[in-house]
Every structure is written in structure tokens, then in C-alpha cells.
Amino acid sequence: MISALSLALVTLLAAGAAAWRASIRLRPLLSGRPSLRKDVPVRRAGFLLREIGLHRRLLRFRLSGIIHAAILVAFVILLSGILQAYSKAFFPDFRGWDAIAVVQDLAAILMLSAIGLALYNRLVLRPARFKGSNKRDALVILGMISLIVLTMELEFAFHIIADGQNSPYRPVAGLLATGLTPLMPSVSAAQIAEQVFYWAHIASILGFLVYLPGSKHFHMVVGFPNVYLRSREPRGRLPTSGAEPAPPTRITELPWKGMLDLYSCTECGRCQSVCPAYAAGLPLSPKTLIMDLRNNLVDTALGTPAAATIPLAGGVISAETLWACTTCMACMQECPLHIEHVPRIVDMRRALVDEGEMSPLLQATLVNFQKYGNSFKKPARQRPAWTKELPFQVPDARDEPVEYLWYVGDYASFHPLVAERTRNVAKLLHQAGVSFGILYDREKNSGNDVRRIGEEGLFQDLAEENIAAINECDAQRIFTTDPHTLNTLVNEYPALGLRKDVVHHTQLLHELMRDGRLRFRPTGTGQRVTYHDPCYLGRYNGRYDAPRAIIRDLGFDLHDMPRCREKSFCCGAGGGRIFMEDESTLERPSENRIREALALGDISLFVVACPKDIVMYTAAIENINASDKIKVKEISDLFAVV
């Protein structure tokens, strides 16, 4: 006889313990900075359902995605088994639902198979992305789920033995019963065994419930709100902090959604597997960064002495780790729980910058930005020096109306390797009869990388001065060759007063080709080339197609690398990394990328669409002695072939 009272009692005790454990951990969220996202609830709910239902991000890692999908489906079905177990206690005449019994039985097999695969994945295949994850926790959870399912099946099996007749609706339990019947001396023994496994089933369920809040599998609870409350802002728009308080310096100062992020992490390591800094041997793994923050949050929530006083930047997370990030956004692109690593890292960088904690090289670069408006320490008057070798005068957009204002950017203006390409673009536009002008000495660095370094105040200064200069111009659109500049002009300047359409030069050139304004002949003659999607053009702003269309229209045979489009691998220059010492201990991201291109076989040109990529990949090719095999070309260089 199942004691309803006992069951109610232990359930209440377990639920209370679980709620208590969860509430302790979640309590800091109550005092976190506000971050409620109340907009478009229906869309958010729809997105959540699609993410869960289609497993879009999870299935990018095929085996793990299938395992997760199987466990989720089986888990949902087996919830009915739990309901059934409780119904039995409270309604003695309840006999279960035959219609669902067969599904439950099959779900049990599905669950156990998935767990078997998960163990195989974790213990035999051991993907590198699991490095640093808590294996013990994962194994405990897999063991607990197995226990829940096995005890359920055994309870059903002994019920069949005690009942004396097999059920066509429980094929798995029936098979088990057939195997176990010889071991049962009597019906009453079978009844006792049924009771034992019933309570073992209940105990494993309740044990799981109590264990859950302290486990990474807490994501089963907090993952739903976390995905629902994901940022819907454009990727390229860092949270504005101009009007916000100082960056969080302690874990309790995080926005509460940021804390929810930490509890949502499943330690799956997808972020780690795509992180260029991690691949280069730099001391950053987005996964362990989130885990370290979560551990500090848990310690703080549990009242561990001094945990709440440890500074986030330079304490919980080392400065070297924070400076290693290229802000390429690959981690956020892959995270199935939509955890926001990059804004968290930039926030901590802001604290470091406020304290002046940075390398001498980076400090000198920031001083250059402050004094000269560029990283090259060049006087403003030298900004248009690249135009001197052009056979025509580039108009000053402040003095005469132009169709396009060209926001040139630092590297395109000052770096000798890039300035040549800048002139190429100017010649192409001149040839197409495009009216364009530049800001001359009024242009300053757009501040995209400055902001991602964590120098928020300097970004605001640069942006305000640039916008004031842009607003003096009578131009219909803005274009730039620099994806970093494009990103902040498109996503961040509007909040500060810029009201202009901004395009990348690849889009502009493609439009001009399409409209017949830019005459060209397809001289690629089928030459095999590959194209690298710059992070700030592709993953940040979804602009993948114009460069590819140009390459194909020019007659080149384009072969994408395995990591292309939104999976593109960062060159290693973003987030201000180009202004820091290179401390890679393994393979530099740019060299890794060139090797990826070479592995395609018979690729002679590595086509890029970002000034920093020209510099990074030219150096990478020299470093790995591949100059005789592959060459870097900016898209505009392909026209030069004509």
C-alpha cells in the first residue's frame, strides 16, 4: 500500500529543500542591476519555443545535439510517468494510462540510449571542448537520470509479475518481467519489490530535484527564462553605458540577467571550441570565464567569507584573460543558452581601464587615440595624406554636397599596406562616376575598438566629434571599407545622433556593378580563391553576400573555407587585440586561418574585405612561409586584375 501521506511528506521536504537551495543561489538576482526585457513577449515566447523545438544551435554539434534532443524528448514524455507515480499514491484505484504506457516504455529506452551515447561522448570521444568542465557533475546527473528511468521500469516489471499478466502496452517492462520472474519466489515478493522500486523511483526523482539547483543542470530551470530574456539588440551594439553607473566591479553589481546567464551555463564548451583566443593558447576560455563568475556568485550567495569583495576584473577573472578576448562574438553565436559573454568581458575591461590596468603598449595606443584621434600617433592633418597619390582631387564632404561620405578609418588612411588598397577603391569609384568625399582632418577613429577595449568615455568623445563632423556634410549615404567602423556607425552612432544609411564598400561596389555604373570584365578566369568573412561585417552585421557576389561576378571560382559566414574564424585583431602584445603560445588565429585556406587545396588568393585583415593575413602568410602558395587580396584588388 502506497502511503499518500508519506509521499506527500517526503515530496514536500524534498521540494522545500530544492526551493531553499535554489532560492539561496537566486537571491543575489533580487539586488542585481535592472535588466528586465519586457518588449515583444509573444515574439520572445515564439523564439524560445523554436529554439527548444528545433534545437537549432544545439544541432550545430551533431552528436551532442541529437543526444540532447533525445534526452529532452524522453524527459518530457517521462514526466507523465512521474505524474503517474504520484497519481497511484493519491488515487489507489488509478491503474495508469495504457495509451501512454507504450510511449513511456519507448521513451525509457530512448533516454537510456541517449545517456549511453552521452557517456560514450564524454568518456571515450572526450571532445576538447569539455576540457575545464565539471565531469563529476555531468556523470552524477547522467547517473541520476538513469536511476530514475531504471527504477521506473523495474517498478513496472515487478508490477507485471505481481499482477500475473503481461501488458501489451509495456513491451520493455514486460521483457524485464519475463527475465525477473524466475527470481521471484512469490507474488507477495514481487509486490514488495514493486514497492521498493516505486520508492526508489520516487527517491531518485526527489534526489534529482534536490541536487539540481547546485548543478550545472540547473539550466533545466533557468535556461527557459534566460533564452526568453535574451538580448534582441543588434550584436554590434554594446549596452550603452554613457548614462549608466560605473561598470560592475563586484559580482553583486552585475545586472540580474547577467547572473541568470551564469546559472544557465551547461559547461558544454561550444563557446570554448570556437574561441580564437583559446585556440591561440591565450588564457581565455569563454566557458571557464562564465564558470569562474558563477562560482564567485555561488560563493557569494552561500555567504563564503570575502567572496563578495573580490573584484571581478583582475580578481575573479584575471586581467590577462579579459585582454585576450577579440570580441569576435563566436562564443555568443554558438551558445545554446544565449549567454552574453562579450558584454560581460567588456564591462570588466571598463573597470580595468578606469583603474589604468593595462599593458604599456595598449596604454600608449589609448593615449594616441586621446591626443591624435588615431592609433598611429599621426597628426590630424595627415589623415588625407593617402589621397596625394591619386590622379584626382577627393572632395571635402564638408564643403560640397556628395552622394557618398567615405568614412575611411585609421588603417585605411595610415597603414602603407592598406592605403594602397584605399586608393584602389577611390579609383574604382571615380571610374564609376560616384560622387564621394571625405572628412579630411575632421575624421577621427570611429571608436568601435576603443569601446570594446573598455574605454567607454573615449568612445563617447570620439563618436560625438565624428557625428558633429558628419552632420556638417551634405551626403546621402556613408560608406566605409572598414567593418569595425561600419559596425559602430550602423549600430551605435544612431543612439548618439547619426541619421544616415551606412554601407560597406563591398555592398557599394556590388550595387555599382549591378547597376552598370562600374564597368568590369570577368578576368578571374576560374582562378580558385577563398574569402574570409570579417567578424564585424559577417557575424556582427550579417553582410555575407555582396563580397561573394563580386568575387563570382569577376569570374573567380570561390571556395568557402569550412568555417565561413557566421562560423568564420577571427583573425585575432578585434576588440583592440591588434594594439596589444601577441602572447599566443599555440597557433596565432591568423595563421590557423591561412592553414585552413591552404587545406582547401589549389587556392591561390585569400580575399579579404577588412583593412586589419590585410595586415594580419599578410603577416601570417609570411610567418608560415606560404608566400609562394597564397596571397592576400582585398576585394578591390580583384578589379585591379582587370
Binding site: 560605473a246 571598463r350 581601464v353 578606469d354 589604468g356 593595462m358 604599456p360 596604454q363 589609448l366 593615449v367 586621446q370 591626443k371 591624435y372 600617433k377 597628426p379 592633418r381 595627415q382 574605454e455 567607454e456 568615455g457 573615449l458 568612445f459 563617447q460 568623445d461
Partner: protein, 256 residues
Amino acid sequence: MNIVVILQTVPDSAEELTLADGVLDWDEAPLRLNEFDDHALEEAVLAKEEAGATVIALALESAGDRVLQTAVARGADRAVKLIKEVPLDASARMVAPLMAEAARKLGADLVVTGVQAPGDIFGQLAPFTAAELAWPLLGGAVGIDCSADAPIVAQEFGGGRSAQISVTLPAVVGVQAARRPPRYVSGSKLRQAVQSASIEKLDVAAELADEPGKLVTLHSPHKTTAISFLDDDPVTAVDQIVEIFRQRGIVGGGRG
């Protein structure tokens, strides 16, 4: 302890400088904070952090507010603008009486400033100010340790020798280099300082001193010795080294 840091602006050699009648056109020259004064300010702020001093940044009106606002963002407690008509190219000797009077008015116990300024050929504000104040002077400081009762100034000399000198206040110190690089002032702190820092104005009765001298000509240093580059080819380089040794009498000549 009140520490007055004198900050001067100098022409920015990284910018394009223009000449008028063969000399620098100061009106057109982009100016920046004198690098040595930057170090002096850092030392003053370090002293404040060590001993709780009050740091007062002092600059001529012509230096502009930004210099003083930056000083506040760096940790100065007060920013004082000296109101006086002073030519941009006024030498250290000329402005020393103004700075001395300002230091007295501000109740300075210690005056620190850069050991020199590249825009000023005489470039020695610290000794001239010390002379005006009749206070002791320590130049070429590479650190002012204020953690003890009396400040201890570090000086470095040739041959790796150094001195730690206990200073009786009041005094003037010319700083050559701070113990750590001048700290970075983030844009956020600077913006905050721009919005909130109040810049005090200080009138002084003192007049500019007479120009102590006039620059007539400048010469590059006379070449006395020169380095020799060896050939890239190691065999030729060895011959060259042997020849040098022979010429210097290090090895005997002729017998090889």
C-alpha cells in the same frame, strides 16, 4: 602636506609644427602637457596615496582647462589656473616669480614640477622657482617617497649610484621620472572631471622676470667618435675585426 604641481604645456613634436621667420610659430603650435610634468604629477598623486597629501595642480591660463581637468581625473584634489598675461613662449626664468607667489598663496609645503621642458631652452623651472622662494631644491628626482615623516627623494647618478635624500620642507623638487609610468586617465573619468571639476582662478601680483638670455645659434653635437658596421659576410667581418684590433694595438701587426 600641500603639494603644488606646476604643469606646463609644450609644443607637440608629433604634430606638424610651423615656423614663422625661422622660429616656431607658437600661436599655431599644438600643445601638450610637458612629459616631465606628467611624471611630476604622478609622483604627487603617489605621495597623496601614500601619505594623504593634498595635491594642487597649478598651470598658467594659457595651458588650457583640459590640462587641469586631466590632473583632477588623475587624482589632483584642486586645480588652479594662474591668471596672468604670459606669452606662450615665456621661459622658465620669466614665469618663476609667478609660480613662486602662487605656491606661497596656495600654502605649498612641497612644489614639484618637471626637471625640464623641451619647449624652453633654459627649461629649468624648478631651480628658478626654488630660488624665488628661497627654498631648498632637489633636481633630477626619480621618486618622492612620502610614506615616512619627511619625504625621501631618490636621485640617480652615473655608474649606477643613487641617493635617497630626506627633505626638510618646504622644498622644491624637479622630477625626472616617476616611480611608475603616469597612470592612464580613462575617458569616463576625464568626462566626469570636465563636468564636475571646478577650476579655481588665482591672481598674482608678481611680474614676469626679465628674459635671462637670448638664443643665438644652435649646433648639433660635434662628432667625436663613430661606430663602424661590420660586413654581413662573416669572413670579411673577421678580417675587419682583426684590422681594428691591429689598429688599436690590441694584437701585434703584420705577423697574423
